[in-house]
Symmetry: C2
DNA sequence: TCGTGTGATAGCGATTTTCTATCGCCATTG
DNA sequence: CAATGGCGATAGAAAATCGCTATCACACGA
């Protein structure tokens, strides 16, 4: 029964019988039969088909909701029993917005010190992807913005606040300033994340609120790419202060990370976890770690 | 998987492999094998055995907790999908304290008018049995006292308040009074419910608070038995006002139901349902009905 | 010491599961 | 408009699992 529900979850993710089957480690006919069995047992069609996958019926959507919950609970049960016997072990799957990637270490390092048997998989994702993947049980927790866009059905634990700095070469026009305003920054050509990232949308909003039209000369979904461009000293960017610091950018003496003042431009970043009570032991330990570390990160 | 979890639930109820198997509609070896499979798959012993059932291990208790939840969710899912397709149908299992039995009709009648396809099974139970059976998914909802003894992991919906009357023959000593005090009642020989019933404990407490030692000449776990004794006119009892009224007791002219005054002796009776979000459609409709009817029962 | 009750085990037949191979449908495309 | 490719359903056989009957092993009481 539960494995059939997992078929349904995979189908919701992949929207494709073949790929869903592969994801479940079975062949396509097996998955087809599994779905059909559920439909027979409920006496209701769950999936709209017509020579290809065409989404779920209303009943299918409801079953999907229950499936997420039941499958999640079954996984949590297994994990908890295992932890009772063998201590905390297993793999914790995290998804993190690019600008917070450098902060993950402050969670994972003490976590690992406490629970050496736990392994990590960390994905770089957009904030919307993170929420989706939590819903679909593809990850155990995420690190993302808490305040701006609606979170949906997750629990949130505040972790730290992000403040922005202008990164410029030390011979650039604004390089000699101790601080700059958003209005001034809006005049500078910038390289930023792509617009599917919430960070970009936040920064663009802040720039636009000054009345100016920002000039984004380069965009990418990779912080590494932005970072490498800024490192040349020929590009300017806006980065969270902590990220710049943890990359050691300001120690090169070729670059300056200048605080941007003028309005409360700080965003809360936090852990988001599935809305399940109780949580799995691995996630529970992560939340505990976040609560321990968060006070150390306050400004 | 889910059916194995049901094996575990049955075992918790019956504390006996054979009876649990029978309750699940399988043979004892099948249930034994099912439990063993779970133990193998978890790598942990769940049940302490020694030529007979000796309770669950710590891990087993945790699994049991999850099993209650997962099995309950799976049932709720089935019910909801069925309701989506065929409208509200199925069997609603209720357990009710004896003194509230006569009030059940005020819920079931309008419920049935609204949802004719729903069938009812109503058990007469003590308040503690009700809470246990909700935990173990043996009933869908209960009707019991909300205030006095701790409820545990259930949701409660207040339904009505119970006030007590002294029932006596019209030629008995107190029969000519418009109202009596608890102190006066404590002097009368009474027939009441047995002490495993919360109603008895409540009334006994109220009597004792007057300083007197109550004289319980007859006790039973059946309201019908108490009722038939009181009907002879030779016995006195204490009953909730509504119960006396709905039994038509006071219309015989042989009996009088005299309000007992002196202290706030009223108990809230309410619906208790499993602490699950969302609830099953059948229970959800019952809660809606209770909320509709409750205002009509206020004094 | 024997009888009884309880749960585990063995062995076997029935059922279910899942695979491979293939079909039929539809959309795309040259 | 016919060929092609992708997608999901179906058929049939092999494999695995399930669940039963019968029986065993053990503990406890009479």
């Amino acid at each position: 029964m539960i494995d059939k529900l997992e078929f349904l979850l995979a189908l919701a993710r992949e929207k494709h019988f073949g790929r869903a089957a592969e994801a479940c480690g079975v062949t396509q006919p097996t998955l087809s039969a599994g779905v059909k069995q559920m439909e027979d047992s409920f006496g209701v069609l769950l999936v709209n088909r017509g020579s290809r996958f065409q989404g779920f019926t209303a009943e299918g959507e409801r079953v999907l909701d229950w499936a997420r919950r039941i499958v999640g609970d079954a996984q949590a049960m297994r994990q908890e029993v295992h932890a009772l016997k063998h201590g905390l072990a297993g793999r914790l799957r995290l998804a993190v917005i690019p600008t917070a990637l450098a902060m993950v270490e402050t969670l994972t390092s003490p976590y690992r010190a406490r629970h050496p048997a736990v392994q990590f998989t960390v994905f770089s994702r957009t904030s919307t992807e993170i929420l989706n993947e939590i819903e679909n049980l593809e990850i155990d927790a995420g690190l993302t913005y808490l305040d701006n866009e609606p979170l949906g059905r997750v629990n949130a634990i505040p972790f730290y606040r992000e403040r922005y700095r202008l990164l410029v070469a030390d011979d650039a026009p604004l390089a000699d300033r101790d601080e700059v305003t958003w209005a001034e920054v809006a005049q500078v050509p910038l390289c930023l994340l792509t617009p599917d990232m919430q960070n970009r949308r936040i920064i663009e909003r802040l720039l636009r609120e000054t009345g100016a039209e920002p000039n984004i000369t380069l965009e990418s979904d990779s912080m590494i790419l932005l970072y490498s461009h800024v490192r040349t000293g020929r590009w300017a960017s806006i980065m969270p202060a902590r990220l710049a610091a943890s990359l050691g950018l300001t120690e090169t003496n070729k670059l300056r990370a200048i605080p941007i003042v003028g309005q409360e431009a700080s965003q809360t970043i936090g852990l988001v976890i599935p809305l399940r009570e109780p949580m799995t032991p691995l996630v529970s330990a992560l939340v505990a770690e976040a609560r321990r570390v968060a006070p150390l990160l306050e400004d």
